[in-house]
Amino acid sequence: MSAFKDAGHLFRFAGLFVLAFLVFLVVRHYVVPKSFGEYGHYRGAAIGEIADHPIKFAGHETCEGCHTDILDVKKAGKHAHVNCEACHGALANHADDPSIKPVLPDTAVLCARCHTASAAKPKGFPQVVPADHMGGGAPCETCHNPHSPALDSAPNPTGTPGGAK
């Protein structure tokens, strides 16, 4: 043991290092979130938290589950590939609780957004100049059924947005 003679101060110093390391481990244990590093250099649980965000757009499959009559009209028309909530807006709350009645969209704004003529729109896309179209004053749904807008395919004499009954 002569080699460690007068070496007590070195052991005390080493002991301090070890103590500091243990304190580091304890502190680290409490400050680093449990799931940190699960998939990479981030908190793995964050993925699940982001996935828990509430859904506002129910998706057209949900709408079609109940509104089969509208689906049949829509399937045959030019708007077959336009999803319900593209026009009606987010309606997951209505799908969850059908007593919440959605507000019908204003066709003057809605139809114009897509169909107002503009040089920037793709050439084959059906476009009108609203001011020149039918004198400019008639609401679109007077002649067009929004769910099947071509005049020859589905006349809409009653002007009800849901289609002639």
């Binding site: 990479g40 981030y42 649980a45 964050a46 336009v82 920037a120 793709p122």
Partner: protein, 243 residues
Amino acid sequence: MNITRRQMLILLPAAAVAWESVLAGTPEAAPNYKMSDHWWGMLIDISKCIGCGNCVRACQTENDVPDGFFRTWVERYNVSDENMTSPTVISPDGGKEGFPVAVEDGEKYFFVPKMCNHCADSPCTQVCPVGATFISPDGVVLIDQTYCLGCAYCVQACPYGCRYIHPQKEVADKCTLCYHRITKGLTTACCEACPTGARQLADLKNPKDPIHEFLKTHNVQVLKPQMSTGAKVFYNDLDGSVR
């Protein structure tokens, strides 16, 4: 059992490390959704975009995006024949309520929807000093907003301008590719609301996804390919003037 001081010194840290992994527990498995089975991206078909702003409004509704900030927005390009390198670009309120009418004047006009490109080698995740933003195992660039400091390094790092500091939360915010929807089998809000099918969610790991056939048969480009970000938002019919 006799343990010497030396053995004790070796054992203590090892035991502490082992105990820590015990406390951490096993990761929680999400039902019916395996992250390793997906690699998400998006297809945007410029030739189908009509600039209606449905995607912008749907995104703001679905994700509670504050007014004046955008996770997705639409730009209208106007390119004249002789000056292709400096197009005139407008995006009034992100194109949320549509665009002013473009009058036919012989010049080229078209719409370009923009959003986070969910880059596979994203510059934004690399600059985060605290590990608050990351690429999820299924290829979506996400932000852990409880961890973000709001330093905005990532906002500056994104070459596409897709991030912003949320005015109320004061942390970085961006497109999550509607992670809460795609993990439940739904498409994103912008795709759901797009009336012309100009936006299509794409799962690059799903061999049955029509994206593979589309990429094979069309001239598809990503934005700023020279930056090698590994962008996964693919643009069909993209004009060379788009930045």
